[in-house]
Each structure stands twice: as C-alpha cells, then as structure tokens.
C-alpha cells in the first residue's frame, strides 16, 4: 500500500509540474473561469431592475405617493427627468421605459375619474417588456394598498397557505413590548434565517411610542418581510417547540 501511495503521489506531482510549466495550459484552465466569475459578478448587480425615466407632472399628494412607490420599487432603477430628457434617454437606450404621472393625476383621482399613468416601453423583447408591464400595475396595487382605511376600494385580499410548512420562529418583544429593540431583533432573525417563518408577538401595539407614519412604515416593512404580527398577545409559557399565550393559544415553533 505504501508503495502504491508513493506512486500516486509521484504521478500527481509530475502531472502538476508539467501543467505549471505550460503557461498556455494554465491560462486555458484558469482564464475562462476567472472571466466568467467576473462577468457574473458585474452582471448580477443589474439583474431584475430595469432603468426607467420617471416624469412627474403633478405635485399633488397622490402623485407624490405614487412617485415614492415607484422610486422604492425593486423592479425599477428610476431616474427622474423632464419629459424631453426622458424621450431623449429612451431614444438613446439609456432607459427601457418612460413612466409619466400626468398633471391631471390628483384631480382625476379625487374626482373618481380615469387617472392613467402612461408608460412608454421600448418593447425589444418580451422578457424586459413583460417585466415592465407587470411592474407598473404592481406599483399601482401598492398605491391602493397604502390608501387609508375606507379609501381603498379593493375588498379582495389574499389568504396564503404555503405547501411546505417552514420551521417557525417566534420573537417575543423584550422590555417595552414591541419596541425598537424587538423590531431590530425581528429583522435580524428574518435576514439571518431566511428559511424561518417568523412571528412577532407583543403585549400591546408594535412601536407604541411611535404612532402614525413611523409605525405604519415599520408594519409595511415587516409585512414585506413576511413576518406574522400578533399584537395584544401576552405570553404565558415558552416550551422547547411552542409558545403558549395567556389566552391558551399555542404558537408552534
């Protein structure tokens, strides 16, 4: 066995030495892999975000709300331009589309009249085009979802069930219930353990000391992170695989 091991080592050593002495062989082995890694690294930065010019001709609150949603959208890389500059950018292929929120947007919205948002797409191929076609209605969906209670006309909501029940993590907001520390822990859990379905349980409201916009923003972000929120939930007992609330409900881990 020792002799065979020596033979194996000698052959390995010989072949590696021959390979190293041939710069073309080394280049042919390493260069394509290095170039491919570099290309994928540089290319990955732009995947999924199409460059779009945004022209906002209305400074009313509804137009500004939609503008803010479009700017925060994961689907676009938005540059705000004037109408002329946007048209030039579309012609010179600097952007894939131009979205225009017209001057009459707020007036039409308040009067319950048609308020079209124009999207001009360079429909070179259906991959880009369909992404853009889906993304603007998605932003409009978010716009309606953000409307205050009673102002959102959409009465159909989605009740999702996942086929594979994931391991469940329950974050119990420490100290001052549902406070900033609890929220921070929550976000850490979600980011560090993507496979977990995380639930935030708090005795009162989420961020009770920051009502209004800050709380709404945090709630929206938590919902986007697929965190289940249980307010007014006092915990009676924590076991190795579940949390039991004072009302007797069991939240399985």
């Amino acid at each position: 066995v020792k002799r065979e091991l020596r033979a194996i080592m000698a052959i390995v050593k010989k072949d590696i030495t021959v390979w190293i002495r041939q710069p073309t062989a080394v280049a042919a082995t390493l260069l394509p892999a290095m170039v491919l890694i570099g290309v994928l690294y540089v290319g990955a930065a732009s995947v999924g975000r199409n460059p779009v010019a945004l022209v906002v001709e209305d400074d009313g609150p509804h137009a500004q709300a939609l503008r803010s949603i479009l700017q925060d959208s994961d689907a676009f890389s938005v540059t705000e331009l004037t109408a002329d500059d946007a048209a030039a950018a579309l012609r010179s292929l600097r952007v894939a589309a131009v979205i225009t929120i017209p001057a009459s947007f707020d007036r039409a919205f308040d009067a319950h009249q048609a308020a079209p948002v124009q999207i001009q797409i360079n429909n070179l191929n259906l991959d880009f085009t369909n992404d853009l076609r889906r993304s603007l209605p998605a932003a409009i969906t978010e716009f309606y979802a953000d409307q205050p209670n009673g102002a959102n006309p959409i009465a159909v909501d989605v009740e999702e069930t996942d086929r594979f029940v994931q391991h469940h993590g329950v974050t119990l907001s420490p100290g001052f219930c549902g406070g900033p520390t609890g929220i921070e822990s929550e976000a850490e859990f979600v980011e560090s353990y993507a496979q977990l379905q995380v639930t935030l349980a708090t005795r009162v409201e989420v961020l009770p000391q920051f009502p209004g916009k800050p709380r709404d923003y945090v709630l929206e972000r938590l919902q986007r992170m697929n965190v289940q929120i249980r307010t007014h939930t006092a915990v009676a007992k924590v076991t190795s695989d579940a949390v039991i609330t004072q009302s007797g409900e069991t939240i399985q881990a």
Partner: protein
C-alpha cells in the same frame, strides 16, 4: 499577385483537407454551436409565467372577471380544474400555486363585503413564491380596474416604441447565432493555426517563398469555409425551425461574412499565440460564454450596469449582436447607428488580422 493568389488557394485547400482528415473533431466543432443554441433555448423555454391551477367555485361574472384578469396579467399559465386535481398537481410539482375563487365571491362583492382569496403556494424556492405573491394582488387590482373603473381609477396606459412585440426566443436566437459564429470561428481557425505548430509544419510554411499575409489569408479562408457549415446549420435552425425570419436578408448574409471574418481572425490569433489545440479548445468555449453574457445577448447592455456597458463596448461581439439584431428584427440595440456598428466591426477585423499576422512567426515547435 498571381503568385500570392496561388499561395492563398494552396494554403486554404491544404487546411481544409487537413481538417477533414480529423472527422470527429470537424463534426464536433460544426455541431457545437448548434448545441449552444439548443442549450440556451432550453433555459428560455420555461419563461416567466407560473403554471397555476384555478379552482373556480363561483361561476358569476366577477369570478370570471378575476380569472380573465389573471390570464391577462402575463404572470400565470392557468389551468382551471377542481380542488382535488389541483392539489394532486401541486403535490406532483406540476403547478406552482392553487388559486381558489370561493363560492361566495360574487355575492360578497355585490354586497360590498370583503372576501379572501385562498392561495396555496408550492414554496420550494423564494423566486417562484415571490412571483405568485406579487402576481395575485396585481391581478386583483387589474380586475377591479376592469369591473369598477369608477373606484379603481389609476391604471397603466401603455405605448410601445416598436411596432410589435418580439418573443424572448426570437430575440435571443439571434444573439445565440452570433455566439455560435464566435465559438465556431475560434475553434476552426484556432485549431488550423495551432495544428501547424503541433505538427512542426509552420517552419516549412514560413520558409516557403510566400508572403505571410497570403498565408494568413489562406488560413482565414479555410476556417471560414469550415465555419460556413456550422453557421449555415445554426442559421437554418433559427430561420426554419424557430421561425425567426430576417427583415433584411441581404444584411444577414453580408454581416454573417463580416462577423465570421472577425471571429476567424481572432481564432487565428489565439491559435498562433497558444500553439496547442488542447489550449485552443477550452479557451474558445470558455471565453465564448462570458463574452456572450456581457455583449447584450439578452437586451441592450446600457440597461445593465455602466461598468458592464463599458466592458461590452471594448470587444466585437457587442457590435456583432447589434448588427444582427438590426438585420433580423430592425432593432437598434446600441446607442450607435448601424453604419457605425458595422464600421467598428471592420476596424476590429483589420486590427485583429494585423495582430494575427504579426504573431505568425517562425518557431517550429511549441
């Protein structure tokens, strides 16, 4: 001149004959570009639409309207079925999600009440799951915009720049045709050049009373002749099988010759520099792939990162894809005009042929 022409003809004939004696290699190098075409198309065929079962428990107009909105959303491939079949399809992995339109859907909406839409997702990976999570609310909003336009007044009004949509396969097939020409050109020309060094015949060739440019031209012509077979095969599949009919046939032919010349010249340069076919083959395939990714094969590179766009413009494949997309679809995919793209390609070819001729020097063995 007559002597040079004789040299060109003799070198070209000799290289074609030498290549044809290695039948297996020739067949593989002709079929490899076609293999690339089929491989990339397989990735594309899956598309961006999620196969979804709709269980319609209400046959009212609102329920029908919602299904129509889902069909129009370009996000689903819809299959209407009963709950049991849908569950079975989900468990077999044949669909991504089940959307159930409940029996009280129309009644609830007519009564101004809210209604929940049960959605079961095969959450195997976040990509599919998030597609469904985004697409269902989008379909609901579109449904409202259709059925209650006085309530959901905000909608997208689309204007297209191109006169008609072009499918992803039709677009990508043209880019793959270019990369096929690239890989075929690099393989054929690189092997022709490297073979002279491996067999030691480069010494005799360079000592012969012939101009080096004539030798180089003969090799370019031989590689192009062999590459025409693989280019013709790929072009035939693109046009006849995939049905991508060029808008400008003459330009397709002219640009095919121009692009082939460029890539063959690059192949000769690589073969002359590395002098081994064992290095030419992995370099041709290995460099062809990343160059394909950065050259705007999937869409204009300007829509990606500025760094990627800058790198793309430093090599000829970017311009080759641009002229082919114009010849096939009439598209402008670079900020430059068609003439500018073609002139840049000619410039690349001249520089590369010059560099290749300079690299061709006497050295009998590697």
């Amino acid at each position: 001149v007559r002597h040079d022409l004789r040299v060109i003809r003799a070198v070209a004939l000799k290289d074609v004959r030498s290549s044809l004696t290695e039948r297996l290699f020739t067949v593989i190098s002709i079929l490899l570009p076609l293999n690339f075409l089929l491989l990339f198309l397989m990735f594309v065929l899956t598309g961006g639409e999620a196969p979804t079962a709709v269980v319609l428990q209400d046959s009212g107009p609102y329920a029908q309207g919602l299904v129509q909105a889902m069909q129009d959303s370009q996000s689903f491939i819809i299959q209407q079925t009963d709950a049991e079949t849908a569950q079975r399809l989900l468990e077999q992995g044949r669909i991504v999600a089940i959307v159930t339109v409940p029996a009280n859907f129309d009644a609830a909406l007519q009564g101004g009440q809210s209604v929940s839409l049960p959605v079961t997702v095969n959450n195997l990976n976040v990509d599919f799951t998030n597609d469904i999570r985004r697409a269902v609310p989008l379909a609901i909003t579109s449904f409202y915009a259709q059925t209650a336009p006085d309530q959901v007044v905000v909608h997208a009004n689309e204007i297209d720049v191109q006169p008609h949509d072009t499918g992803y396969i039709e677009y990508l097939a043209v880019s793959i045709l270019v990369v096929s020409l690239l890989i075929g050109g690099l393989l054929q020309a690189g092997s022709i050049a490297a073979r002279e060094y491996e067999t030691g015949t480069i010494k005799e060739l360079l000592l012969a009373p012939a101009n080096r440019w004539a030798i180089e031209t003969g090799k370019v012509l031989a590689a192009m002749a062999l590459n025409v077979l693989s280019a013709g095969l790929v072009l035939g599949v693109v046009v006849l099988v995939l049905g991508v009919w060029p808008e400008h046939w003459l330009q397709v032919i002219v640009f095919t010759l121009l692009v082939m010349l460029t890539f063959v010249a690059i192949g000769l340069l690589i073969g002359t520099v590395v002098r081994r076919r064992t290095a030419v083959i992995p370099l041709s395939i290995g460099l062809g792939l990343p160059v394909f990714f950065i050259s705007g094969a999937f869409g204009p590179v300007q829509w990606g990162t500025p760094l990627l766009a800058a790198i793309a413009q430093m090599q000829p494949v970017y311009f080759a894809i641009a002229v082919f997309q114009y010849a096939f679809h009439g598209f402008q995919t670079t900020p430059f005009s068609l003439t500018a793209n073609a002139l840049v390609l000619v410039g690349f070819t001249v520089v590369i042929v010059g560099a290749s001729a300079a690299a061709l020097r006497l050295r009998a063995t590697p």
